[in-house]
Point group: C2
Chain length 308, copies 2
C-alpha cells in the first residue's frame, strides 16, 4: 500500500520550494562527442549541483516539506552514497542535525562527504534488518524524520525539477537518465511534456528495473557487482508504479562500456563523472537514439563524487 | 626590438572578433573552499573553454587577425601543450591546416589532442635551435603563418578577453592567474579596470617570472622540473614588458602545495583541473589575499587537459 503517487503538479510545487537554494545546472556540450555519437547531445551537469549530485534536489524538497517542529528535530537516512551527502548538506544549510546510517565496511570516501557537511555517521550491520533496526533506534532517540533515498513522494518531486530546467533551457527530443532506485527517472517522467521521450539506462549487472518493467513484477536487487555503485539498489515501489505507467524503455550496458563512457565523458566534457552517471551515455553510444527522428538528446550526468 | 605593445583597446577588439566562437565560461563556487580560504572565491572555469583551455582565445584571435590569403595557407606553432591543441582546434573550426612542431619524447597525451582536431604533428629535436629550424622548414614548405604561444600581440589580446568576461560577470577585488609565458597574465592586466588587482602565481621550481620582475631583467627558464608543465616556459619579451609596467605581484608555491590544491579544487568544484591551473589557488591558500580589504577573489582555472 503506497498511497497517493506524486504528479507533475508536485514537481512544479517542488521547484518553487527549492528554487532559491539549488543550482540551475548548465548543459555542457562537446563537438567531439556529438561526432562520435552521431547526434547532438547536451549533458545536464548535475555533478555541479550542491553536494555534487542531483540528490540534493529531492533531499531539499523533502526536508522543506516537513512541518517546522518536525524539521527542527533533525533528519535521518540510511544511504551511504550521494543521498547521504545530499541530506547532510541540506541539513547543514537549514541548521538542523542529520544522521546517516551506513553499513560497516562501506566507502570511506562517501562517509567523508557526509562528515564534511557536519552529518553524523552511525554504523550498522550489512543486512536490511540491521539497517532498519538502527534507523528506528536513531528515530526513537532523536525524533528525527526519516528521508528515504528514492521511494518517497517529495524526493521524487524534487528530482523532477532537473527535468523542468532541461525543458526551460533546450528543445530536446529525448532525455536519457540512469535508473537505480528510480527517484530521478520517476521525477523526470512526471515532469516531461508529452512530446519528450524519457529513456532509462542500467548496468546489465544491475538490470532489476528493466526486468521489473518487462515482467510487471518488481524484482529484488541483483548482487552488488556493478562498478556503478549508485545503481546497485532495487527499484522503489512508488518508482516502479510511476515508471510502469509511463512504459519507460530501459537500455543495458556492460561494465566495460560504462568505464569507457566515463573516461570519454570526462576527457571531452572536463567535469568529473561518476561511473553511475556514465551509464546513459554508454547506452546511447551503444544503441543510438530511441526514435529515428530524434535530433537532440539530453543526457543527465547525475553525480561527480569520485575520488581524485 | 618588440615594437608596439597591445593595449586594452586591442582586447576589446579581440572580444568582438572572437565572441561568437568562444564559450563565455562560467564562474564556479564552493562553499567548502570559501570556508577553507577565508574569502569568497569565484573560479573562472577556462577548462570548459573550447579545446579545454584559455589558449583557444588567443589562438582564435591570432588566426582571425591574419589576412584571408595568409590564413588559407595554414598555421604552425611549436607548443606541444595546450596552445598546440587550441591552435589545431581553431584551424579545424576555420577549415585551414595546422601543423604543430613537438620535441620527440614529449607527452603523447598532448599530441593526441592536436591530432583529435586534425592537426599535423611534426617532430623535432629537444633544443631551441632544432625547434626553430623545423618551424622554418614547415613555413618554407607550406607558407603557414607562425602563431606563437604567448609572445604575440594578438595572442595576448585574445587571452585578455577572459578578464572582460570576469568583469562583466562579477564584482571582484582581485584576480589570481598562473604565470608561464605570461600570455594570460599580460592580457588580464591590460583588460583589468584600475580598481581590480591582478596577482600572479608560479611554482617555486619555475619562478623565472618573479625573478624577472624583481631584477628588472628577463630571466631564462629554470630546469623543467615542476609538475605544472604549462608553467615551465620562460616569460615572453612582450609579456615581461607589460607585466613589469603593471608591477605584477607574483606568489610562489611548492610542488606539494600545487598537488594538494589540484585535488582540493577537483573534489570541491567537480571539474578537471590541470596542475598548472591549481597554482593560483595554492598561492591564495598559502598567502591569503593581496589587499586586506579584499572580499571577493576570482581564480582563473586555466585548463582541464589531463589524463583521466
Amino acid at each position: 500500500m503506497i498511497g497517493r503517487l506524486p504528479t507533475r503538479r508536485n514537481v512544479l510545487t517542488a521547484r518553487k520550494r527549492i528554487r532559491s537554494r539549488v543550482h540551475h545546472t548548465p548543459l555542457l556540450t562537446s563537438h567531439s562527442l556529438n561526432e562520435l555519437a552521431g547526434v547532438e547531445i547536451l549533458f545536464k551537469a548535475e555533478g555541479l549541483q550542491r553536494s555534487g549530485s542531483f540528490k540534493f534536489r529531492g533531499a531539499l524538497n523533502a526536508v522543506l516539506s516537513l512541518p517546522a517542529a518536525e524539521r527542527r528535530r533533525g533528519v535521518v537516512t540510511h544511504s551511504s552514497g550521494n543521498h547521504g551527502g545530499a541530506l547532510a548538506c541540506v541539513a547543514s544549510m537549514l541548521g538542523v542535525p542529520a544522521t546517516v546510517v551506513v553499513p560497516r565496511g562501506g566507502s570511506a570516501f562517501k562517509r567523508a562527504s557526509v562528515e564534511r557537511y557536519g552529518g553524523r555517521i552511525v554504523h550498522c550491520g550489512a543486512t536490511l534488518a540491521a539497517r532498519e533496526k538502527k534507523l528506528a533506534e536513531v528515530q526513537r532517540a532523536t525524533g528525527a524524520a526519516y528521508v528515504p533515498p528514492y521511494d518517497h513522494n517529495a524526493v521524487i518531486a524534487g528530482q523532477g525539477t532537473a527535468m523542468l530546467e532541461i525543458v526551460d533551457d533546450t528543445n530536446a527530443d529525448e532525455v536519457w537518465v540512469p535508473v537505480g532506485g528510480g527517484g530521478l527517472a520517476s521525477g523526470c517522467v512526471l515532469a516531461a511534456p508529452a512530446e519528450l521521450q524519457v529513456v532509462g539506462a542500467e548496468p546489465a549487472l544491475a538490470a532489476d528495473a528493466r526486468l521489473s518493467l518487462e515482467t510487471g513484477v518488481r524484482q529484488p536487487p541483483m548482487p552488488p557487482r556493478t562498478v556503478a555503485d549508485g545503481l546497485r539498489t532495487a527499484l522503489g515501489e512508488r518508482n516502479f508504479s510511476i515508471l510502469a505507467a509511463y512504459g519507460l524503455p530501459i537500455r543495458c550496458v556492460s561494465e566495460r562500456e560504462i568505464t569507457a563512457a566515463q573516461q570519454l565523458a570526462m576527457s571531452c566534457l572536463k567535469v568529473l563523472v561518476e561511473s553511475s552517471s556514465a551509464v546513459p551515455l554508454a547506452a546511447l553510444m551503444k544503441y543510438g537514439v530511441q526514435n529515428p527522428d530524434t535530433r537532440r538528446v539530453v543526457v543527465v550526468l547525475t553525480g561527480a563524487n569520485l575520488q581524485v
